[in-house]
Symmetry: D2
Subunit: 134 residues, 4 copies
């Protein structure tokens, strides 16, 4: 089941086009993934203490509508799959019913000095409830 | 021929992993495209005055190595093609010889109220020198 | 009476010290002032439509404790006074009972082309409920 | 003698007023101080390795003119004094001859777990060349 979180647009994230700059969407999506991890009991500080970093290696984003001042956005995040050392996630951002943006990202598990490593079983298990059904 | 620019990592762009946060790469790539436009004589203020916004509609980025404190990065930007209302760009980020990240983005031309519109001939002509050869 | 809002720390706002970078506090304080304006019915888009920009001209901030990953912060904002063309605001940021930072800022009212101008009476009236009592 | 560095405004740092958001000035000033430290041979990674964090505890900033798209700004940074556990810095930002903003900040030396500590003699000595004369 998708994790859902709410994000309020901040003024300084708008650019002179009066739209949220596209780089801020990337930050919103990151915030949503991190809230999922926290809810799952494997927040970044806990992962780090256990010797792991979760690192974005790839992303693909489509920007469908512009987000604007005062918007409160909803971000849905699902885990598509966890493979040996990497994971794929799918995210969608809405304003009310309107789809604003969607993203697929790949995140790798690494040791603290940056070498790829297997996803620990416990992490895989804790992500299971957020697996997409497709 | 690719446009080349240099970007210095700033401390606040690093995250607790001691790496440049992936959203900052997206900002670096944007800065590089905007410098290309300025060099081509069609900076965003000039475009806006002529009634146009250039808006990112899609991006795909691969993060290959992490950028770190004190790094001076080089960004190469090429225009892959300009179609009726949209354009595709290819970008690569280096630290010295090392490829740090690469990105493909699609940017649409819109009117000031956000409707897609044809790329003006002059814009197409001014982007021509930055066309990729492949 | 002070306006109160809640802000959740985002990962990319942390720096390698594992603390929220001090520039993000400045952004949190701005977000809080803008929420006050919205609540008062004089949000920035409404002001702009009426021909006004509200511009920070001066700030003084004390950073007392560091904010960290996962913190949910509360920001209290009061209007200290509105003079002819400028206004003074006082803000405090808390984590639970702990005072994290406090700030005094001065914001000027300008026309859209940046010339200082008198605070419209309606703006003064709408800020009145947020006046500090001291 | 003041340390001098140059900073180019980036598009995403502008807000809907078409000005650099005031929080970005705070980031520019931070970047300038860090470049001074690097030039002095006591960059933040070196300090951290030696067991020290340099932490902003207080700042006061005046915003005199707005910075805009395409601006290349110059930041001058001087050390006003180093006391036992804290230091005061004075910074000014220019566009050409025009003073855009100025700032005084206080930065404390702490251990890695955040307790205030004396400035190491070597740090004091290395900052000496950047001492303001007044």
């Amino acid at each position: 089941m998708a994790h859902t979180t709410s994000i309020k647009v901040r003024f300084y994230e708008l650019d002179p086009y009066n739209h949220v700059n596209h780089s801020a969407y990337i930050q919103y999506f990151e915030s949503a993934r991190i809230e999922l991890l926290e809810e799952a009991g494997i927040g970044l500080p806990a992962l780090q203490e256990a010797g792991y970093h979760l690192v974005v290696t790839e992303l693909a984003t489509r920007f469908l509508r512009s987000a604007e001042m005062g918007d409160r956005l909803t971000v849905e995040t699902e885990v598509v799959e966890t493979r040996r050392a990497s994971s794929r996630w799918r995210q969608r951002m809405f304003r009310g019913e309107d789809l604003i943006a969607r993203q697929e990202i790949t995140a790798a598990m690494t040791t603290l000095d940056g070498r790829p490593t297997r996803f620990p079983d416990e992490v895989v298990a804790r992500l299971e409830p957020y697996r997409s059904e497709v």
